[in-house]
């Protein structure tokens, strides 16, 4: 042990290890969500996306640029959500219940993401794109 150089002790053994990764991805997804959520809210507020009707909602989702943005929004939003829920659970839930809650949250986020992205793709493929997008 006494022959070890300080660098050897420091590498990969710091208290943080990969701890900063969670923090950093939470910031990256936050930055990504700024334009993505603004676009979605803008689409609803301007009436471009009329969610009240089944046909008009599908028509909106099916447009190529909308589908791409919706997939990006789904992924970024659920990733950000999962990271946020993880922090809350780690702060307030303890013991074995913490592990179970964290696993359940991760599974639920992945399931919601898969369901949403699958839906966007299926709607896009089942609707013939119009001349204008």
């Amino acid at each position: 042990m006494k022959y070890r150089a300080p660098l050897k002790n420091a590498l990969g053994l710091g208290s943080a290890k990969s701890g900063v990764h969670h923090w950093w991805i939470q910031r990256l997804t936050a930055v990504g969500l700024i334009p993505l959520t603004l676009w979605f809210v803008y689409a609803i507020a301007t009436g471009c996306l009329d969610v009240s009707s089944y046909e008009s909602a599908r028509e909106f989702i099916a447009k190529p640029m909308h589908a791409i943005l919706l997939i990006l929004l789904t992924f970024t939003m659920l990733h950000h959500s999962q990271l946020g829920v993880q922090v809350i659970v780690e702060d307030y839930v303890h013991g074995g219940l913490k592990t179970i809650t964290l696993i359940a949250s991760k599974f639920a986020h992945i399931a919601a993401g898969v369901a949403a992205i699958y839906s966007i793709i299926v709607i896009s493929l089942s609707t013939i794109p119009g001349a204008a997008s």
């Binding site: 089944y54 789904t74 702060d91 639920a108």
Partner: protein
Amino acid sequence: MANHDRPLSPHLSVYSWQVSNGLSILHRMTGFVLFTGAFLFALWLTAAVIGPETYDLIMGILCSWFGQLVLFGYTFCFYYHFCNGIRHLGWDIGLGFGKDTAVKTGILVVIVSSLLTLGTWAILLGGAA
């Protein structure tokens, strides 16, 4: 061995309420609400692929007065978390850390997000009328 009796963070009960910690916990609460909103978003897309009956069932709930109230709440949570999130990103790059500045930007965030919520619903309800 770990001492299981030691206090765990966050120590909510030991602080007196101020603008900074009040808005911080509001950021967390709105974030948690938006987590359920993200699942509602996924449900909306999934309903649109399942079929018109499922879609209309969910829209019927969302268009009821209760649904509209919930969506109004989501709108505020979104705008607050959005504006305060930008405030947080500013801190991350070292901007606006001063005590007075942080209080002022905090109050600004509450005012702006409230106005955006009311403005958005004015447009939505105005368009429907």
